[in-house]
């Protein structure tokens, strides 16, 4: 079998919610196969659920360090090491130290305690959207600001700073921003967070950064963790809200199931849409897996979107069915790097999406579906804008 030279990245016309169609054939032929990365590196592509899960779970033989990795989506040249505070691109023991410091701030119980505030923030934004529209752009009116404000409160960003903070955060999230704008926003956020860290050291509060200010983290680590938590949390939840709404416009008969059981419905939306569609690891020793031998130093691309449509794991996987039991999906990854903020994302999605369809039952697209600008080619999939109307 010749190495695959292009990771399929083009979705079929009229199917913005499905992975590129070639991935299904690749998975059926070989759930792990040779893949020539865009920078020329000869590694592997995993498309099967069981194998993707196995690689992600095996953090002793597969490293997450960026500098050991080849990037599966584009030729970016050699990857730099993870910036300080970035938990995704590091291994134990550094990762373990950060993760154990942070895990207690994102527990199921603590996130459940945020529900009331998330409901208030959601309602405020629906009120504002109702006053200004129809029509509206659901991304800028709702999907972006709701998670941005929630993370502000959680991290402990002073109310007066929220607007500046949110502007940088939105630019950082990449929705409608150029790479240069994102990079400038990242710098501005770093400066901002450094000042915030100074303030937190002086007067610690009971929010996440205030809490961490009492730990043994350095100022640089604390600022880096703040930037990382934002970057990881904003883009993802904002895109899940907007893309989730778009999917529900497409299958309106599923809205009833979402309203009846938001927890179950949200898991299925997470599985079906898998916006963090592709991950990667790098073998640090030779590994026998799925009938192949992965050599030390080879990178492995993990197609989470293909894995979450694997018929060996999910029956009738290409059907969106909010009544199904979708637990076990890989939308938040798997292994020790599984999304730290996943319980926050769940709370936000379980509140924001049902509230949207309860408040505006006839909410619908204001343009033909084919005209919605999709985030093709980006790390996190979704929509740039979602023009909607109601009434």
């Amino acid at each position: 079998m010749n190495p695959l030279t292009d990771l399929p990245s083009t979705r079929a016309a009229g199917c913005p919610f499905d992975p590129p169609p070639e991935l299904a054939a690749i998975r059926e032929e070989a759930p792990i196969r040779r893949f020539r990365f865009p920078d020329g590196h000869l590694g592997w592509l995993v498309t099967g659920h069981e194998l993707a899960r196995a690689v992600a779970a095996d953090h002793t033989r597969f490293s997450s360090r960026y500098e050991l990795m080849h990037y599966p989506l584009a030729d970016l040249g050699p990857m730099p090491p993870a910036p300080v505070g970035d938990l995704t691109g590091i291994d134990a023991p550094e990762h373990t130290r950060y993760r154990k410091l942070l895990a207690g701030k994102f527990t199921v119980r603590r996130m459940n305690q945020l529900a009331e505030r998330v409901e208030e923030i959601t309602a405020e934004h629906l009120d504002a959207m109702g006053r200004l529209g129809p029509p509206a752009d659901l991304v800028s009116a709702f999907a972006q600001p709701v998670p941005a404000l929630v993370i502000c409160e959680l991290l402990g960003v002073p109310y007066a700073d929220r607007e500046t903070f949110q502007r940088h955060a939105v630019a950082l999230s990449g929705i409608g921003a150029t790479v240069e704008e994102q990079s400038a926003a990242f710098g501005a956020l770093q400066d901002y967070l450094r000042r915030l860290v100074e303030a937190k050291r002086a007067t610690p509060g009971d929010d996440v950064l205030g809490d961490l200010a009492g730990s043994d983290l350095s100022d640089e680590e604390l600022a880096g963790i703040g930037a990382f938590l934002l970057g990881a949390g904003l883009d993802t939840t904002a895109n899940m809200i907007a893309l989730g709404a778009f999917a529900l416009f497409t299958w309106p008969e599923q809205v009833e199931a979402l309203l009846a059981d938001p927890a179950r419905g949200v898991e299925e939306l997470l599985r079906y849409l898998t916006i963090a569609h592709t991950g990667a690891r790098s073998a640090v020793e030779d590994v026998e897996l799925g009938g192949v031998r992965i050599a030390a130093g080879e990178s492995v691309a993990l197609s989470m979107q293909a894995a979450n449509r694997d018929p060996a794991r999910f029956a009738d996987p290409d059907r969106l069915d909010l009544r199904r039991e979708a637990t076990g999906h890989l939308a938040f990854g798997h292994g020790v790097h599984q999304c730290l903020g996943q319980q926050l994302a769940r709370i936000e999605l379980r509140i924001a999406l049902p509230a949207l369809f309860r408040r505006l039952p006839d909410l619908r697209l204001a343009v033909p579906a084919a005209e919605v600008p999709m985030r093709d080619g980006m790390d996190v999939y979704g929509v740039h804008r979602l023009p909607v109307r109601w009434g």
């Binding site: 992600a56 779970a57 993760r99 154990k100 410091l101 942070l102 895990a103 207690g104 701030k105 994102f106 527990t107 199921v108 119980r109 637990t327 076990g328 938040f332 990854g333 798997h334 292994g335 020790v336 599984q338 999304c339 730290l340 996943q342 319980q343 769940r346």
Partner: protein, 63 residues
Amino acid sequence: MRIVADRERCVGAGMCALLAAEVFDQAEEDGLVTVLLPEPGPAAEAAVRRAVRTCPSGALGLA
């Protein structure tokens, strides 16, 4: 059915507390697994098995 939980492996993702809240919790300070019912009854078995299967770090087992 007896639950074995390895706090060294646990990363505090919270899947067990999400899927079987009557059996698992997360410690307030570090978010790591706390087993509320080490020997849950048959009513909880399906949820416990799902939690064990879903645990991202492989910190849970059944003895």
